[in-house]
């Protein structure tokens, strides 16, 4: 057992404050990781504030973790001390259900063990996340980070990255297709980078005209201002796939006529109840509204390797851990381009 420094929320309305937690000793299959960087995800805020009513305080958020190997369990022989590794949104699953056997631990039928706030043998009986000096994780759930990627920019790949990469891959996005990315935030900016790198004609769909320039800088081939009815009508029936990253309730049906016959819009934001659903644009075009949750471990490694090959990282603003409460406030007004990353190594002793 080792006691390490971290930042934790202790109640719904309280700021995150310095805290200490006890991590388990690495077992034979475990990797002990010194955390260098941790991305800040909207989910962290929801749990810190108990928005979903299932927070177990104290909570140590953080599931976009990059660090280096500090120690290895006796049975782990494919990593080396000092190697750059990463941990994403979950650190355990049953390994035996149909989802786990299909490398989709995110849909584990027994429920995955989330990187924080899940039952665990750690002190307090719950997992503690990446706003912490170190973490101990089962080797199966540890990713490796290509050497050519900036480790701070790589951190958000573990959630914002895989959340957008996985549906683009699952629905077969490739050259010759037209893909719309709806919403330009932490997820949307990664969606643009991935869709473009996969070769698709990539269109940023937004209600905010001032986002157009940045969308193009990030790689969008075109920008569709969704408040421009004439432009929307012109684009009707032209998209093979829509990646909807809007994190708040909105009229999802309104986008469906943009899709070709048999097209799919995949929602990756946890929204709802949201506005009325109308089946007509689904029926008249055999279109689908789908959802998707991060990605499995094998696919997350594939995504990191893809990023290494295409030199893709997140656009980030690096902060010290002391700035986390201010960062939460700024995120709630969308004042970040496009992801905060905590420099753990340099700000938490």
């Amino acid at each position: 057992m080792s006691t390490v420094s971290c930042y934790a929320a202790h109640a719904a309305d309280a700021p995150l404050v310095p805290h200490h937690i006890t991590r388990r000793e690495p077992g034979a299959q475990d990797v002990h990781i010194d955390i260098e960087f941790c991305g800040v995800c909207h989910t962290d805020i929801h749990y810190a504030k108990n928005d979903w009513g299932r927070s177990n305080y104290p909570i140590v958020p953080g599931h976009e973790i990059v660090g280096t190997v500090k120690a290895l369990g006796a049975a782990v022989n494919d990593l080396r001390i000092g190697q750059r590794v990463a941990v994403g949104c979950f650190v355990g699953s049953c390994h035996h259900c149909s989802s786990c056997e299909a490398d989709m631990e995110q849909y584990c039928l027994a429920g995955f063990t989330a990187t924080y706030n899940s039952p665990s043998p750690d002190e307090g009986g719950v997992t503690y996340g990446g706003y912490s000096k170190s973490i101990v994780v089962d080797r199966h759930f540890v990713l490796t980070v290509p050497d050519n990627l900036d480790p701070a920019g790589a951190a958000p790949l573990l959630c914002a990255g895989i959340t957008t990469y996985s549906p683009l891959k699952h629905w077969g996005v490739k050259a010759g297709m037209t893909v719309g990315v709806i919403g330009l935030g932490g997820l949307g900016h990664m969606g643009i980078k991935f869709a473009r790198a996969m070769g698709a004609h990539t269109v940023m769909i937004t209600n905010s005209a001032h986002k157009a320039a940045d969308a193009k800088r990030l790689g969008a081939d075109d920008v569709l201002l969704f408040t421009d009815a004439e432009a929307v009508a012109k684009h009707a029936g032209t998209f093979d796939f829509l990646l909807n990253t809007i994190p708040a309730p909105h009229d999802v049906t309104s986008y469906m006529n943009l899709l070709k016959v048999d097209g799919t819009m995949c929602i990756v934001g946890s929204i709802g109840p949201t506005s009325d659903l109308n089946s007509r644009p689904l029926i008249f075009g055999r279109r689908s509204i789908a959802g998707s949750l991060v990605g499995g471990i094998k696919e997350t490694q594939e995504m990191l390797d893809f990023c290494g090959k295409h030199q893709i990282v997140s656009d980030i603003e690096v902060i010290k851990i002391d700035d986390i409460n201010q960062a939460y406030e700024r995120m709630q007004t969308s004042d970040v381009k496009y992801r905060f990353v905590i420099d753990i190594a340099r700000s938490l002793s």
Copy 2:
């Protein structure tokens, strides 16, 4: 040009009454059909009453048509006089768009010509449907009916049948899969017959306990009473595919947790705006809500041949054309098992 007897609605609140229309002479590619039977679809009521605000009066409804060949255009050499044929929901499309080229005329990008109330060279400038002694239709849109099928019971296959057959085929329903059919009416009872004939374990999902016996008579292996929370919980994550035939606004999200990972619920009723949508059950299981509209001509013929092979027709109540207004009233209280079919030949002179 030939003048024929029919029944037509002349205003939103008026009953259907005897009328005469003029059909075009058969062109080289046309088939002139003596109508024997015409099924009565809910869509007919919506158009008769102008529920969708686009009815062109007088309207002659009817798009579940079975009859015999009266005359053939000069270029039609693959049908014979007296042969039993059928016409479904549309009688024209562009033939050149990507949908038409893929045998999906129902998704014609130029818009298909509906069997009634669509622009046409007929008198009045709109198409007139099957509540009529005869109809003239382009050969491409004329189906043949297997000899072993009762022609009255076959009529509803042209809409209720293909509307349920097509999504079951598209989403690959087969032996070894578990399929839920939601709602037991004109569409739902066909959904049960088809899912069962395709080899799936077929479950009727309903809020009405009194429908269980009939569902089993129609072929359902099991019945899930959706008001029984314990039974619903037991069935969570067990369905490969759900066919949602409910024709009224309802909480579509409530069914999604019944699906396995990657499962799809296909809606075939034109509903909306309906109740709130929640993305969580889509995301946590990569599930989809889709829509589907009837089927293409090639697939409709395939469906009719499948029905011939499996001896499938609709459960019907045959009426005379004089009874049509009363039938509409009874349909609006779901008082029909499961489809009215008008005996045109014996009741319209």
